[in-house]
């Protein structure tokens, strides 16, 4: 495995939670000086040239996102850092915030300069209390050292950062739900448009960025944007923090350039598959379509290649599955998860995910019938484009692709029911009895 520049994880294990150590490692130095001489427009152009794309899942170019935020609208501009990572298999932000909170704060100062933000929020999920403690300690140090508050480092620029503790709702990772939650409401997504960049938190322009996106900024400002762009693929620059979990020898957080082959990640970084042969890989968290072993052998970890294989790069969370597992069990876990986390606004999602989950439960219990797989596939067809947010597709996508790629597993389970050839009594779907 080739040595790679560590953009986000460079300070891991060096005690960078302390501000003095972080400064010795090059933090709060050249990057901020360089930023404070730039105009907003120049800085946004700079980030656009670095080809940085959002690391949260959708992969939208960061500089372009910033350029949509209207300036001089007379309203305050907010930046909200999305640290509500709840997608199965994703755990990079947890360790990034634990190990290097000051880099997040420095990145946030840079982003705030670009947008003219006075108040920024870090929306951290409720389960991450150790992370919030680490962040608050770092914030205290940064305020005491004069990097936050009024007139930072002798400029006219002021910034306050607050950590907002969420309370356990997966859907708050969606940006409009996150904004609703920040406003003290239920975390239910809003209709777009208006987009948050125009009318977000408290009807002000709001930019929601992932933790890793913000943490890449200090490095980009310390170096040249072209240097960052060079590391990745032509359409997405830089390195990515991958989280590898599941049946591998050394699961964990690894930083590698975009476009690294998938098998290199599994075999060289994570030490190879254990407990059996490779059966499937989820390349971007629990809501993406799985790749089987043949597809995984040719895939590279970047946005374009995975999109061309009809799955998605997502948050770079690879979940490796060996051949001792039945895919129906895993899909049942996902069904449980997404039906539990549906916020309840849109009927197709609220009812559809619950129905899928219950059908899967029956199949796993040995009560499956012959038409069940087709029934699930037809249900997934009703999800696309009719809900406010993509949560229902996050379950619908896996259901259609698991059933298409691993049909044998489903048939095995259904065959366990001695009456599987008989049609299911339609009455079981009646509300109140079936769900």
């Amino acid at each position: 495995m080739a040595e790679c520049v560590k953009v986000c994880t460079g300070n891991f294990g060096k005690g960078a939670q302390d501000i003095e150590v972080y400064k010795k490692l090059g933090g709060y130095g050249d990057a901020l000086k360089r930023v404070f001489e730039m105009s907003q427009f120049e800085l946004i152009d700079y980030v656009q040239r670095s080809n940085l794309r959002g690391r949260g899942g959708a992969g939208f170019p960061t500089g372009m996102k910033w350029s949509f935020v209207p300036r001089n609208s007379g309203k305050p501009v907010y930046i909200v850092v999305n640290a509500d990572e709840g997608e199965g298999g994703t755990f990079k932000d947890h360790f990034l915030m634990m190990e290097d909170p000051h880099r997040l704060i420095e990145g946030l100062i840079i982003a705030a300069w670009a947008l003219g933000t006075r108040t920024a929020y870090i929306y951290c999920r409720g389960e991450f209390l150790p992370c919030i403690e680490s962040l608050n300690k770092a914030l205290n140090q940064a305020y005491a050292a004069g990097y936050l508050g009024e007139n930072i480092m002798g400029t006219k620029f002021s910034l306050d950062i607050f950590v907002h503790r969420g309370a356990g709702a997966y859907i708050c990772g969606e940006e409009t739900a996150l904004i609703n939650s920040l406003e003290g409401q239920k975390g239910q997504p809003r209709l777009k448009p208006p987009f948050p960049a125009v009318s977000g938190a408290w009807k002000s322009p709001t930019c929601v960025n992932n933790v890793e996106t913000i943490m890449a900024l200090p490095w980009i400002l310390q170096h040249e944007p072209e240097e960052y762009a060079k590391m990745g693929t032509p359409r997405a620059g830089g390195t990515k923090v991958f989280c590898i979990s599941g049946d591998v020898k050394n699961p964990g957080v690894y930083e590698a350039p975009l476009g690294t082959p998938m098998m290199t990640m599994i075999n060289e970084y994570a030490g190879g598959v254990v407990g059996g042969k490779l059966k499937a890989v989820l390349p971007g968290g629990s809501s993406c379509a799985p790749l089987n072993a043949e597809e995984a052998a040719v895939a590279t970890m970047d946005y374009e290649c995975l999109a061309s294989m009809k799955t998605m790069f997502g948050s770079g969370a690879m979940i490796v599955i060996n051949d001792t597992h039945n895919m129906v069990d895993l899909l049942n876990v996902l069904g449980n998860f997404y039906s539990h986390e549906s916020c309840g606004q849109c009927t197709p999602c609220r009812e559809g995910t619950g129905l899928l989950h219950r059908i899967l439960n029956l199949i796993v219990d040995g009560k499956g019938h012959d038409g069940d797989v087709e029934l699930m596939q037809s249900l997934c067809g009703g999800f696309g484009g009719v809900t406010i947010c993509p949560l229902s597709i996050s379950l619908g996508g896996p259901v259609s692709s698991y059933t298409a790629k691993f049909r044998k597993d489903f048939d095995e389970y259904i065959a366990k029911n001695p009456d599987h050839a008989k049609p299911r009594v339609q009455e079981t779907y009646r509300p109140g009895i079936f769900w």
Binding site: S39, Q40, F41, E42, D45, P76, E85, G88, G89, T90, F91, W113, G116, R118, T119, G126, E127, F128, L129, P130, I132, E133, N136, N140, Y143, A144, L148, G149, K156, F157, S158, D160, F162, R165, A167, G168, A169, Y170, E183, G184, Q185, G187, W202, C243, S245, G246, D247, N250, P251, G252, S286, A317, I319, L330, V333, N336, F337, H340, C343, G432
Partner: protein
């Protein structure tokens, strides 16, 4: 009028039996684990006085004032204020939710809706050690389900229940964000895969096993003996941050609005000049807020103004331009003049490539 109302009341009373549906028995879920243990049970509520006495301490008041100063609207602090209440009381009784609504000046019904939407607000008292086990995909692959069964067996309860001595509550939750250590659990607010030197640890590469769960349970019992009256207080919001100015305009905030001129005015970027038969054509990239643009051409040692393109123009043509001329652009925003753009030397425009016939 009165007769009408009386008539309507009579009609409903006469026909009530016809409209009533037959009584439908509501069956409890057979297994609390089916709902992951997040069952909203009807529990005995403490009296209003008891709750308000605990929540009207000076520390809680100061904390709430600090939280309210962070958001432009008091309602923004609702989640945090609910956390404070849960930190003091251990759970969120209805009266505490009403109190939080009062603090954040919103309707109690809204606060109740918020408190029941999020799963981490507890609506019934939990055991002293809340054991939350991740059962999402990564942990399932590594065998979370048998481990949860193991804990249920060794404590003698099911997921969602509390042991009779009030020590442990088991919950099955969704992804905890530590999938590399899967299966993983939270003991109250601490991630744990093992115990080392009397402390819960989450080390890289470690994961829960039956033995390490035994050690964690043992650690909990030892903790109970050491602190019989409850845990040392741990801040539910991860500690206070000192020195912040709050949100401009919020009650108790010192912060002022961002001054509009903190950053220098942007120069024009990417100026290019290309010469063809019509003269030199200039293109550039400019910020949207400019009010005036000036094109200048180098004339010996000084600069001479060539023209002023409109703010929305995309290009500008200097009819006298020829190859080798040096141009620069200066922009003005309001009354602030930016530094000149980088100098651009005019080059010959490449001939359009003719298509092969």
């Amino acid at each position: 009028m009165r007769n009408h109302i009386q008539g309507a009341v009579q009609f409903v009373a006469n026909n009530r039996l016809k409209f009533d549906r037959p009584a439908q028995p509501i069956e409890a879920l057979p297994d609390p684990a089916q709902s992951l243990g997040h069952v909203h049970k009807a529990v005995a509520q403490p009296s209003a006085k008891e709750v308000l006495d605990k929540l009207s301490t000076p520390e809680v008041k100061a904390r709430c004032a600090d939280l309210l100063s962070r958001y432009p609207v008091p309602q923004g602090a609702l989640l945090e204020v609910l956390w404070v209440a849960q930190g003091v009381l251990g759970w969120c009784p209805r009266e505490a939710i009403r109190w939080a609504a009062n603090v954040c000046s919103c309707a109690p019904a809204h606060a109740l809706g918020v408190a029941t939407f999020y799963t981490m607000y507890k609506h019934a008292p939990t055991g002293r050690f809340l054991l939350q086990f991740c059962r999402n995909i990564s942990c399932s692959i590594k065998g979370a389900a048998p481990l949860i069964k193991y804990v249920e067996k060794s404590l003698g309860i099911k997921s969602g229940e509390t042991t009779p001595d009030g020590l442990f509550t088991i919950l099955q939750v969704e992804c905890l964000g530590a999938c590399g250590n899967g299966p993983v659990m939270l003991v109250n607010d601490e991630f744990a895969t093992d115990v080392e030197n009397g402390q819960l640890t989450l080390k890289v590469g470690s994961h829960l096993t039956e033995e390490s769960i035994d050690r964690i349970l043992k650690w909990c019992y030892a903790r109970e003996e050491k602190f019989p009256k409850g845990e040392p207080v741990r801040d539910v919001l991860g500690g206070e941050v000192k020195g912040h100015g709050g949100h401009p305009g919020a009650p108790g905030a010192k912060a002022q609005l961002q001054s509009s001129d903190y950053a220098p005015v942007s120069p024009v970027l990417n100026v290019k000049a290309e010469v063809d038969a019509n003269g030199a054509t200039l293109t550039w990239k400019a910020a949207p807020e400019f009010t005036k643009l000036v094109v200048e051409k180098k004339n010996g040692a000084s600069w001479a103004s060539v023209g002023e393109p409109g703010v929305k123009d995309k290009s500008f043509v200097d009819a006298k331009g020829k190859v080798g001329d040096v141009y620069r652009m200066i922009s003005t925003t309001g009354e602030r003049v930016a530094k000149p753009s980088k100098e651009a030397t005019a080059t010959q425009k490449p001939e359009p490539v003719e298509k092969a016939v």
